[in-house]
């Protein structure tokens, strides 16, 4: 696991590719409270980039800024060489930058199949045709089933999404995100609140679907971060504290202090995690 990580990281630091997603001086203030402060983030194409930091550090706010669910107070966001700072969130999605949410986001009263189909349906445009039957949507059933199979949800296709247990809802979310064939995925705590077995499953899934894509993920479980991420950025109180490969960042004393408090035992745990 750590082997592949080092290889990937090595490949990145030697290459001089332009970043796929880049922010400069990104800042968000909520009525005077600075939630994200002067963040310069640079995500290389083809990598899994981890965004870690204690609760309230501003990670979710960062995601909301990157996907334009929030307007930044200052700073710019470039994606794929294009300035997206002033774009609408739905238009960001159309550029292949798709996010998931910290709280599982499925369309609860629709079936599992319909959930995935809603993403595939994007291909036919806006779907404003309110006069047509759902027949044209059936053309997507096969691909939707394939995606569900891929995340182990095929047998639940006709169940309503709301009836799935939590871990499977998150898997459905990933299948729906994948159905958009995203260039880049932003995953906000994909393993939060899961059992051990579920976490392993999601880790495998993320690793697999990250092939040929770029991923930026918020993750609290450091084991998961170590196993998955090529680069990590540590955020505390809205600021970037450190950035680099996991092995390097995890030895940074400032990070150890900020992320785990000053408890030496826990800090040691982080260094050896």
């Amino acid at each position: 696991m750590s082997n592949t990580t080092t290889e990937r990281t090595a490949g990145i630091s030697s290459g001089q590719q332009p970043a796929l997603l880049e922010t400069r001086g990104l800042t968000k203030e909520f009525r005077g409270f600075v939630a994200v402060s002067d963040v310069n983030l640079s995500v290389q194409p083809g990598t899994i980039h981890g965004l870690i930091g204690p609760n309230g550090a501003g990670k979710t706010t960062c995601f909301n800024l990157l996907t334009k669910f929030l307007q930044p107070t200052r700073g710019t966001i470039h994606y794929n060489g294009r300035n997206i700072t002033r774009m609408a969130p739905a238009d960001i999605a159309r550029l292949g930058l798709i996010r998931s949410f910290q709280i599982s986001a499925v369309f609860a009263s629709q079936t599992v199949l319909e959930n995935v189909r809603l993403a595939l349906q994007r291909e036919r445009g806006a779907s404003f045709d309110f006069w047509r039957s759902e027949a044209p949507l059936r053309a997507y059933n096969e691909r939707a089933m394939a995606l569900l199979e891929d995340v182990g949800l095929a047998e639940y296709a006709t169940a309503t999404a709301g009836s799935l247990p939590y871990g499977r809802k998150r898997a459905l979310e990933i299948a729906t995100t994948l159905a958009m064939d995203p260039k880049m995925m932003l995953l906000d705590e994909p393993t939060a609140g899961m059992t051990h077995a579920d976490v392993d499953h999601i880790v495998e899934l993320v690793k697999r679907v990250a092939q040929g894509r770029t991923v930026l993920m918020v993750e609290h479980n450091l084991k998961v971060v170590e196993g998955l991420c090529d680069t990590i950025t540590v955020l505390t109180r809205g600021r970037v504290l450190a950035e680099g490969p996991y092995a390097e960042v995890s030895r940074n004393p400032e990070v150890i202090a900020a992320y785990l408090g000053t408890d030496p035992e826990q800090s040691g745990a982080m260094a050896h995690a």
Binding site: T67, F69, A88, P89, A90, D91, A93, R94, I98, R99, S100, F101, A105, V106, F107, A108, S109, Q110, T111, E114, R117, L118, A119, Q121, R122, R124, A126, S127, F128, D129, F130, W131, R132, S133, E134, P136, L137, G152, E155, Y156, T158, A159, T160, S163, L164, P165, G167, R168, A171, T176, M180, T195, A197, D198, H201
Partner: protein, 327 residues
Amino acid sequence: MADGSGFSPAPAAAKDVLFGFTLAQLLAFGLMVAFVVISPFILYPVFLMNVLCFALFACAFNLLIGYLGLLSFGHAAFFGMGGYICGHLAKVLGLPPELAIIAGGLVAAALGAGMGWLAIRRTGIYFAMVTLALAQMVYFFCLQAPFTHGEDGIQSIPRGKLLGFFDLSNDFTLYWLVAGIFLAGFLMIHRIVHSPFGQVMKAIRENEPRAISLGYRADDYKLIAFILSAGLAGVAGATKSIVFGIATLNDVHWNMSGEVVLMTLLGGLGTVFGPVVGAAVIITMQNYLAEFGAWVTVMQGGIFVICVLAFRRGIIGEIANFLRVRL
């Protein structure tokens, strides 16, 4: 993934049998059509036409609240304006009833485009308040505009001849037109809900941020649904003005906006048949309890309270829940 939790595959959602109807819905639809066809031979046709107009109005309203989660508190504006436009065109310009009704619906839809465009920027209670405020402006416009004749309203609107042939002064003939309009509107709403557009609409209701993150501009869908709902409410109001031969301030008053909320709530929010049943119950009450005067309003208030406290799903919603089907 963790399966040891005793989780068995969830019950499958009921299958669509025909035209997007499940088997239970198809049976209910058959029952409803049978009632529409048989009832004029038993009950007073004008009363039934009134029920059908309000049933369509409530179904149009339900399109927004039931499938997008948008509570409009200004639907009287569309219902009333549809009636005024239709009445004016039929009486002053001598337009045939079918064209006057269509024009009423189109003007209401245009009004809906304007009001919707302003209202969809807000959500929840603020959306309801904006629609109420805008509808009040429409009310004052109707109070002042010359063509609506203020407190008097437009009187003795001619029923005319359908397609220049069927004489609508006969209650029976008019009944079949009204029944046709109701069923067409009902099926149109059903189609909207079961279209590719309807899928996105429901997704927005379930989780708007997620729908946006899949590239759907939620506001566009809300506006289109608002326009469709307003247009159908306008058709309902227009038809009512032909039935009774009058268009008055009553139908643009905010009372009417409240009444359609009550009908839909009583029948069952977001159910296909609930608004129809809710409208039938309320209109029947108003009709047969009219001798109690102001007490009808008190009873309606009581029903509202009972609904909110005890039968949150409404009549049809509770029945559907009991039978474990969608209705």
